[in-house]
Amino acid sequence: MKALLPALFAAILFALGPAADTAWPSAPEAPIVTQDPHGVVESVRPELGPHALWVGDRLFRHSILFDGDNGQALGMVDITWTLGGVAPHTSHSRREVYVVEPVYDRGHRGERIDYVTIYDLHTLAVTGEIELPTKGAEAGHGVALSALLDDERFLVVLNLVQSGSVTVVDLEQRRFAAEIPTAGCSLVYPTGRRSFGMLCGDGAALAITLADDGSAAETRRSEPFFDVVADPLSEKGARDGSRWLFASFDGYLHEVEFTGDKPSLVARWSLMTDRERADSWLVGGSQHLALHRDSRRLYSLVHQGQRGSHKDAGSEIWVYDTENHARIDTFEIPALLPAFLRPVLGLAPDSLAYRVLSFFTPSMGAHRVVVSQDDEPLLFLRHGEIGVIGVLDARDGRHLHTIEEAGMTGGEIRIP
């Protein structure tokens, strides 16, 4: 039937169309040339490579998968959150992509139903959906709202604050598995095969290990180890295996180990010298911390500001050796605005006007940074109000290129 659709539509069009369209030749008289085959749909190449990147956009309501080496778009999946901008999860073992999303039966109103939508990683076709309790939480930064645990069987979804719980989804059996109460703790950080961590409102950390059925096999809570009011930990952490690194508002790095008897603070060191602190250097942004695990290099977006500026763009990237707790490099953040304005202004990439614009436009900094985990790592940078991605060599900070037209707004970015 499907193959007949074109003929059918043409016939209908013919039946309804004007009596004659004399200005256009009839095709049988036209010499025949090789036609392009109709209906071809591409697939994502089998190996994504280490430099692939998901880039979310709130206005277009999707996340685009890019090849970070050349800026090519490989495909996209939709995300119905009106305020999300979140990036999807990718299972390499099951070769699937997961999007947690709600839909309303009238677009923006009516009955809400929450789903995990499952895409095939190769075809990006929707291959299934799992209905969830209608409780999924939404937050502007998109960070730590859901977590794919390491054995890629369970997806953990943070629920609305008044639910005080997480939803566990069994991706293998494609079903809702469990709801686990997490009173007073929030955000979800994957920490192992079937374990994840959370941060709590009293300054403690929580570690939960799942049973085979997705219920909580073990729940362990640390003593409070930070002050949620005076110097809270930013929730935008960087993962290091079973540990997570969090920077506090005042610029102290906290290494939190989630395994063991209970979660514990295993190291706390300053990202700033006293002098830098006196000069008002602060950490900040929406995804402001990134770790390259093999080289133990930590990338931190910093800016000069005051308390309350913790969501402002970073003006520099400070690079640390996490073994020695020492800053070893400082990267400049390139100006991303020209690449954003170029298509708006209709300038050619090689035009004088564009070169002038690029030369004179100062950097506005970046709100988000992630790093690839291979031996030739790339840093990906994004400003919250500019839909482009700056690509840097993570080893020396060299600005390699900029991925243009990566959305209208700065949603979450994530290495698949």
Partner: protein
Amino acid sequence: MSRLDRWMENSSRALARRSGRRGFLARLGRVIAGGTVTGVAALPLLPVARGQASDESHGSRAAAPPEDIQGPEGDPNHCDYWRNCAIDGFLCGCCGGSSTSCPPGTEMSPVTWIGTCRNPLDKKDYLIWYNDCCGRNPCGRCFCNRNEGERPVYHPYRNNDINWCAGAESQVYNCSAAMIIGLAVEGQPEK
């Protein structure tokens, strides 16, 4: 230095200065959080008090904060409006509502996050509810993001990233209002 240089630099400075506060390209996705809680004992009481206040309308139990302020700090549709010190979203006053009311056809969420903002006239600190208006697509006008005293998601009553339309019938976020709850005994930690 040519005009272009200066203009670029000026506008860039302006951007840097205001990037945390305003900028319409980021105005989506800022999910708006709220908490009703200012203290343990007060928890179950405050929202009810608000409900009563609603019925009494502009009751005169006590003095309202002085609002006759010159400049942007006195302009409810400006990011620098004194009450907006921890707002993150579109100002309802630019969307068909006002700084204390929702646009036509939306619903005010019963739960919100709070801020502690200082009134520049009486120098007093006030507790502010940032009530979201919900059930219609994002307004898209007058985006502001100020984070004085704002805290991460795990401290929800002070977090403005969470979508606080969570308490409303449709959790689609339209805009945010900034309403007085009462006087704060202590200032916010940033002051």
